[in-house]
């Protein structure tokens, strides 16, 4: 934390734009408070959101610090490979959620993902997933706060403590007052703002570099390799690409496990879709979200690539370094690439809009985490184990109280994260602890009638435990031991830490599935009547009301799939 020279300063017009944003979000909190009197209104926004609102909120809740700063930095560090986290690492899973899984979440009338596990596998699986989710979301919220404070310090020279407390207080107020409804409205606003504030960077960047073809040539000149602008052709072996990963890790670790785990079972995003006003809207929301998700690399990945390709007098215009080196040398770090590009192209006014977009992104991430935390805490921990028979009013009160307490714990976490080496590693590690095994449990629960309560619970426990065990195995001990452990987990001596995350997720998912299957086959199955509304084969799924092809979710999922495949071929 020793180096702190600010990159720029805000003018009065920038400050006016930022203040206007804070005023509007606080106003929204007070405005919708009157519509959040029951628990269904507070925690599920009254289940009255249209597909467009739920879909934009679904994708916006994920546009936190990780997306904006981290992946722009990763694009500078690893090149276009970072796009995999937006395309194969998101789109198939979002479409699967909409078409296959959403009917079960929606018709079971569950209020949360742990709530679904309780209906399907009983209290053990619910308790385990609720406790791990509550812990994870609060840590993620703290990461968001920390990231926001770092940005405000490095870009504007603002005091980190002030940034953390102002951001937390604003989010805390609007979520406490309006619950999920307030969070969703702000997420939609933030999504628009993020585009309004950041879309100029790729536009002006491509004008400056003379288009995509020229940019690719400049990147090749700057880094001395063409590896940085290919999505798939370099993934044959760990050594052939800057990320040190192969296609198995990307396709199966990221595309099949981490992505499906996150987008289909992380309650933070699923909660937004549960707020939909009918089954068709619930199925369409993730599909609409996926279409917008495919476009996000324009404002996140492209700025990183621009920084990699821009030249000044025949040399690279930027030389960015890892955060731990930047801390000592005073150079700009990977994570600063987005603010650097913002400053390059945006003068007064536009800079304020860009900074507001960044703040909005951070706050939407925080709000997403804290609203999901308060729901899971109130329904699946407090309501399930502490006070089962309270009135609806009491649970709404508990929702508001847990929002405030959750924010305070997040603040404490933010101070804790200041000692972590890298934001990205931290978040990635968290993801694969809980998300990959949880996906194994939920998907078996939805698709396999034979899965039993004990199978679900012990599978989840074994998967989570093995994930933590592998993390400890690869992150403790001597340098030589860590390298050896990594090569064992990722099945190659050439694997880099990013590959380890992918493979750890893959193993923990396989362990979860194997244990669930074995234990289920040894225990008594549930009857079809008990599984009605929860599992394929035991449920008659109601018609979603689509009359024409234009109203059918499967048609739009097909359209998104075609665009997705085309993009992967174009940038192969």
């Amino acid at each position: 934390m020793s180096v702190s020279h600010q990159l720029t300063r805000l003018t009065p017009v920038d400050i006016a734009i930022l203040v206007l944003y804070f005023a509007v979000v606080i106003f929204i909190g007070f405005y919708v408070k009157g519509s959040t009197n029951t628990s269904e209104q507070f925690f599920l926004a009254g289940r009255e959101m249209t597909a467009w609102i739920a879909g934009l909120s679904f994708v916006s809740a994920n546009l936190g610090s990780l997306e904006l700063m981290g992946w722009a930095g990763s694009a500078y560090q690893y090149g276009i490979l970072a796009t995999h986290w937006y395309w194969i690492g998101a789109i198939p899973a979002m479409l699967f959620l909409g078409i296959v899984m959403m009917p079960f979440y929606y018709i079971s009338k569950t209020h949360s993902v742990p709530g679904y596990l309780q209906l399907r596998f009983g209290e053990g699986a619910r308790g385990l997933s609720a406790a791990s989710f509550a812990g994870m979301t609060i840590l993620m919220s703290g990461v968001n706060m920390y990231a926001m404070a770092v940005v405000m310090r490095t870009v504007l020279g603002w005091n980190m403590t002030v940034s953390i407390w102002v951001g937390a207080a604003t989010v805390g107020i609007y979520v406490m007052l309006g619950g999920l409804r307030s969070a969703i409205i702000n997420e939609v606003l933030q999504f628009v703002l993020i585009w309004a504030g950041a879309a100029l960077i790729p536009i002006l960047g491509l004008i400056e570099t003379g288009g995509w073809t020229n940019l690719k040539a400049q990147i090749a000149t700057n880094v001395g390799s063409t590896q940085y602008t290919h999505l798939w052709s370099t993934l044959g072996h760990f050594k052939d690409n800057p990320m040190g990963i192969n296609w198995v890790g990307i396709v199966f670790g990221l595309g099949a496990i981490i992505s499906f785990g996150y987008w289909t079972t992380d309650f933070l995003v699923v909660q937004r879709v549960l707020s939909a006003n009918n089954l068709r809207a619930a199925k369409m929301a993730p599909i609409i979200g996926s279409a917008f998700k495919m476009a996000v690399p324009l404002i996140v990945i492209l700025p990183g690539l621009l920084a990699l390709g821009l030249m000044s007098n025949g040399h690279p215009a930027y030389h960015l370094v890892p955060a731990d080196i930047a801390k000592h040398t005073g150079e700009a770090s990977y994570d600063q690439v987005l603010p650097l590009m913002l400053i390059r192209y945006c003068g007064p006014g536009l800079l304020g809009l860009g900074i507001t977009a960044l703040v909005a992104g951070f706050m939407s991430g925080m709000a997403g985490n804290v609203s999901a935390f308060s729901t899971v805490w109130t329904y699946d921990l407090y309501g399930a184990y502490v006070n089962k028979k309270a009135t609806d009013q009491h649970y709404v009160f508990m929702g508001r109280l847990s929002t405030v307490v959750g924010m305070l714990i997040s603040i404490a976490t933010a101070y804790l994260v200041m000692n972590a080496a890298s934001i990205m590693d931290y978040v990635q590690a968290l993801f694969s602890f809980f998300i990959a095994p949880l996906f194994g449990t939920v998907i078996l629960g939805m698709l396999w009638k034979r899965a039993t309560n004990w199978g679900g619970f012990l599978g989840l426990l074994a998967g989570t435990g093995s994930s933590i065990g592998m993390f400890l195995y690869t992150s403790t001990g001597s340098v030589a031991h860590k390298a050896h452990a990594l090569s064992q987990i990722a099945l190659s001596a050439d694997a880099q830490p990013m590959a380890e995350n992918m493979f750890r997720a893959l193993w923990s998912w396989l362990i979860c599935v194997a244990v669930t299957v074995i234990v289920s086959l040894m225990t008594t199955p549930k009857t079809d009547a008990e599984l009605n509304g929860l599992v394929y084969g035991a449920t008659v799924i109601p018609h979603d009301g689509a009359m024409t092809i234009w109203q059918k979710p499967i048609f739009w999922a097909g359209v998104v799939s075609v665009v997705f495949i085309a993009l992967n071929i174009i940038f192969f």
């Binding site: 206007l20 944003y21 007064p348 536009l350």
Partner: protein
């Protein structure tokens, strides 16, 4: 109908989207014009393209459309 803000409320979520982008356009457009015509451009890369003015104009048009399209109407509140 006032989508997203709750049954019985007057202001739609899309109205908030419109009014906020309109407000930003209303700040950026005159500021961009002052920069352009008053020759006060900040020394950013490609400032000669006057991005503040054009972006402000785009936000103004987008915001005005959404604000008008989703403006609160008297019968919204009674629909419930």
């Amino acid at each position: 109908m006032a989508e997203g803000t709750g049954r019985g409320e007057m202001l739609s979520i899309w109205f908030f989207v419109g009014i906020m982008t309109l407000a930003y356009g209303a700040v950026l457009l005159p500021y961009g014009a002052w920069e352009w015509f008053g020759v006060h451009e900040a020394p950013t890369v490609l400032h000669q393209l006057h991005p503040t003015f054009w972006w402000g104009l785009l936000l103004t048009l987008f915001g005005a459309f959404y604000t008008l399209r989703f403006r609160p109407r008297r019968d919204d509140a009674s629909k419930g």
